[in-house]
Symmetry: C2
Subunit: 346 residues, 2 copies
Amino acid sequence: MTSALDQSPFLRACRRDPLASPPIWLMRQAGRYLKEYRELRERVPFLEMCKDPDLVTEVTEHAARRLGVDAAIIFSDLLLPVEAFGQVLTYEAGDGPAVSPPIREAADIDRLREPDLEADLGYVFEGIRRTRRALPAGLPLIGFAGAPFTLASYMIEGGGSASYRHTKTLLYSDPGAWNALMGRIVRLIGGYLNAQIAAGAQAVQIFDSWVGCLSPDDYREFALPHVQSLVAAVRPGVPVIYFGTQTGSLLSQIGATGAGVVGVDWRVDLLEAWDAIGKGAIMGNLDPTALFAPRGELVRRARALLDRAGSRPGWIFNLGHGILPHTPVDNVLALVETVHAWQAPR
Amino acid sequence: MTSALDQSPFLRACRRDPLASPPIWLMRQAGRYLKEYRELRERVPFLEMCKDPDLVTEVTEHAARRLGVDAAIIFSDLLLPVEAFGQVLTYEAGDGPAVSPPIREAADIDRLREPDLEADLGYVFEGIRRTRRALPAGLPLIGFAGAPFTLASYMIEGGGSASYRHTKTLLYSDPGAWNALMGRIVRLIGGYLNAQIAAGAQAVQIFDSWVGCLSPDDYREFALPHVQSLVAAVRPGVPVIYFGTQTGSLLSQIGATGAGVVGVDWRVDLLEAWDAIGKGAIMGNLDPTALFAPRGELVRRARALLDRAGSRPGWIFNLGHGILPHTPVDNVLALVETVHAWQAPR
């Protein structure tokens, strides 16, 4: 790692170095709210974009430069690894993702293909290599993957879900099959994250976006051990961000995942959440809808968060979930400027 | 109130009287998972059912009798009151509700009609009168309505929402308009709940199903005061249940709503939630998907909850949200039996 990267505000915050103001990046910062992204998407289907290393580079680098944020995150999709298991992934216009055939029982898990990281997902690593070269030398690049529970939920439900009925039915009825599936996901995703690091990512984020649908007991039994295995598999010294939504009652357990940085949504008070996690760095947690507020109100909300948490080393400013479509770009720019202009009182 | 009702396990639990086992009823106990309900719905559109006092009686009474639960809840729809404001409510097959025209600014609120409780919603009260007569004398009947935030979110979004973008944009940009809307909803719903009580409901539930999308600060400023006004408007002595999902970080505030019973979802530990609320009775909180588990696992989970909370006066057993479609009826029956058979250790 070059010294410029090592001394970047983002990586310093991951290490909990004191900083004058927190670094900021935004989940889904390369997304539909950007005109340039929409124009590209009109010409190229989503999955095709994800699999084209040059387009990945263009979209990733453009968003980071346009916003002036303190980290880039590789443009990619959480669900690409399901293809490595032999499931078919499609995005129909206007719909969410569809994964087929869905896994419903042990036999379906046995039928999953053995992934071949380089053959199946090499285009992701190539995108990271090219993006790393295209980015400013001091700007960290974040790789990412879905967490075991969240990825499994898509593989089992066959797409998004409101109730996670099939996922939970499998873990209630056949914990052995559930653990077998989680083990296979952890093996694949551990290798996937390390290959992203080898290709040029300075940190990795594990998205457990939907894990907040579990009760605290079920999280402890069916999700946490697999997150721990995955975090432990990541190359030592590389910051791991573990992010979930609706995790307010899971935070003390999340403190035990081993992740050095925890991302939280806006449903929790940032400092109370930080105390509940108990250690490490934190990322969050402005409500993404705040970007739809009038400029003055947006700035007031950002400053309130900064005044509350800005003096505490180890905070990475982010939204509590991804930027929403229709978000006004000017407000995103104003947010980044507000965070960068803030100074901890002395 | 007759003495049989007054001494019913449900009303005793609301008063925190010690009981050998907790009473149980289930949110959406009259719903699509019941064959008889589906057969009726094939003949009669949903809103037509809600507006036919005889069908309301039939559906409400049938579910309570079929399950052997300790309370009936009137079959109705959260969104009926929007019609009293002059908005148009429709349910298209397969879709969720649509409310039009949606409210987006102060002028839209000014254009809302002045509700006429009896003319607009009299069919609900007639349904309650007939249902009360049809139910066993000792079985309490619960009336209900949407909470101000949740009702407003439908009126503003024009239906369900994933982000509540328009709702939050209104409260960020025009708090005066927001408060005016909440004031009008509180006036309508206060009268609506009291008329349900006058018609024969022994308790009322306020569904703030979607309030968990708010940050703790926004809940404090934009939702809590209006819940407090609404609870205060309900006829004294009648138990009020305040229910929401994803409220894990809001529970200490919810303890200040004035509601005597708080309903919580499965994302929180029941006893920790109860302590955070701080007083009163609690309702919850088995994950509705537990009803898809094999019978033994379902019973094990119900008993774990009973062993944990069953000895504490003031607990009403319920799911953490409504029964899901496709839920096996036999499992629902087994759950009710498990709860009734449980005895507090002496």
